[in-house]
Amino acid sequence: MSALLASRALTVVVGGKRVCAALDGEVRAGEFVAVLGPNGAGKTTLLHTLAGLRAPASGAVLLAGDDLDTLPRKRVAQRLGLMMQHHDDAFPATVLETALIGRHPHIGFWMWESADDVARARQALAAFDLAGFEDREVDTLSGGERRRLAAATVMVQDPQVFLLDEPTDGLDPRHAAQSLAAFRALADAGRAVVVALHDVNEASRVADRVLLLFGDGQTLLGPAAEVLEAGLLERLYGIPLAAIEHGGRRHFLAR
């Protein structure tokens, strides 16, 4: 099967600093790729470049074979969803209204949301443990609840490719696991998922492949089992790490 999302000789620069140089990568249907790197390595910048929100220094991003630059934004949004790290709730809105925003690229110019759209939104809210929150004002949610609402919103968008920026940030362990499992299930159902994470152990739990951003333009993309090893991760984060095998999985602890 061909790649849903691919980068061709992609060089991304932010604030004069290289995030990646001539990166060739592909994400296929059914794959879950984790992006790891220290703070400021450019995980968010890379995701925004892959989503077409900022232009790369050079190279191209291909969405199902089409150059992202040549596609109308609405077509892109039908096939690619981005869950951002921050939310700007300047105006009042309910939880259900916010989740329904995800349907925007699928609804015609003059149309209102259909009963089917509302059903999808309620289903997505339930998937992130937000059933019963529909009529709550967004500004009354806790940080973790707001993150789960953002996850539900991108699920409602129903794209082929999910780009998620630290979706577990601020979530308690149960909801973090639940969120990752929900997106893992979407990958298993044939979507492609790319997730920036700051927790190595979360990556080790769900990712098929891992992209390391070293912060100096060097990158490494490979199968999780090969990339997630103590030596590489020590180089990545600059601290000594211990790897512990438990339950058939590798866990990492700061020494």
Binding site: H48, A51, G52, L53, P72, R73, K74, R75, V76, A77, Q78, G81, L82, M84, H87, D88, D89, A90, F91, P92, A93, T94, L96, E97, I101, G102, H104, P105, I107, F109, W110, W112, E113, V118, E137, D139, T140, Q157
Partner: protein
């Protein structure tokens, strides 16, 4: 949950309120006309003197009040999304300052109504373009940058206005001050203003759902498939035009563009499919009623309508702000 049915109900209710405000505006003034006589005048069966008063004086004035109020509320909603700030109002980007400089210069020089209108309109557009060009100069086009540029330019206009007032001959100061406080006595083209309001609303409505997305921030809107740059430019142009027309007709009338969108949001939420037409109806109704009061409370003296909107707006706004827990 907002849907087309609720939108219709809300708009019907607001339409009724607007009709009541209109009825009051036709009946009120230095002479209070009973409702039967108002109806008679409108249908052409009334006493000729009352008919002349109502059809030739009060009706154009009420239409102008409705149109200006609607334009200000519409511009307020649009500016607030554009700047992603519920505190923005139609004048925040210096539009009224530019218009005031144009109008006051004309008044100080003793030019006629037409020149005053024309120069107010030109001043508003010049200010809009100036703010846009300065805010856009280095490529960064953020709400904060736009807001700061607008505030600074507005301060510059305020200085020019003070300069103009200081130099103006005494006999013309009164009309200049009235203009500054908002006065519908200058509104000369109620039907044209109403047409502008209709066109502006018709132009904005198809983009209502895109505005809902844009309200969540430009990056998120782009990620959800909105062409952010053309949309922002269009909103900016439309809001500026609506404000320029409103200021030209009614001077700088405060509070309508700030209070009405805010009240609509508290009542019905921030869905622009309801907010845009709802704010137009509510803003129109509010200014129509306020102008009726301005003509009546101190009759035969007419107050500047801006005094009434502020007198109504300030306590109402503070009361509602304190009643709700939500910060916006």
């Amino acid at each position: 949950m907002a849907g087309p049915r609720r939108a219709l109900l809300v708009l019907l209710a607001l339409g009724l309120v607007a009709a009541l405000a209109f009825g009051a505006a036709l009946g009120m003034g230095s002479v209070v006309t009973p409702s039967g006589a108002v109806w008679g005048a409108l249908t052409g069966h009334g006493d000729p003197l009352a008919t002349a008063l109502i059809v030739e004086l009060r009706l154009p004035r009420a239409l102008a009040a409705f149109a200006v109020g609607g334009l200000l509320a519409l511009a307020g909603v649009l500016m607030q999304v554009l700047l992603r700030n519920p505190l923005a109002d139609p004048y925040v980007l210096g539009v009224s300052g530019g218009a005031a400089v144009g109008a006051l210069a004309s008044l100080a020089l003793g030019l006629g109504v037409l020149a005053t209108h024309g120069n107010a309109f030109l001043g508003a557009l010049a200010s809009t373009l100036l703010v846009f060009a300065l805010a856009h100069a280095r490529g960064g086009w953020t709400p904060t940058r736009l807001l700061l540029t607008g505030v600074v330019i507005a301060a510059g206009w305020a200085a020019l206005i003070g300069f103009g007032l200081a130099l103006a001959p005494d006999g013309r100061l009164r009309s200049m001050l009235f203009w500054l406080m908002g006065d519908l006595g200058y509104a000369e083209h109620p039907r044209a203003t109403l047409a502008v309001l209709g066109l502006a609303l018709a132009a904005a409505l198809p983009f209502a759902r895109e505005l809902n997305v844009l309200a969540r921030g430009a990056p998120e809107a782009r990620a959800l498939g909105v062409a952010v740059e053309p949309l922002t430019l269009a909103i900016y142009a439309l809001a500026s035009l609506a404000t320029a027309v409103a200021v030209t007709q009614g001077g700088t009338i405060g509070f309508v563009g700030l209070v009405v969108p805010h009240l609509m949001r508290q009542w019905q939420g921030a869905d622009h499919r309801i907010l845009l037409p709802g704010a137009v109806l509510a803003g129109g109704a509010l200014l129509t009623a306020a102008d009726a009061l301005a003509r009546t409370v101190a009759a035969p003296l007419m107050l500047p309508v801006g005094v009434v909107t502020a007198a109504l707006g300030v306590p109402l706004f503070l009361f509602l702000l304190n009643r709700t827990r939500s910060p916006v």
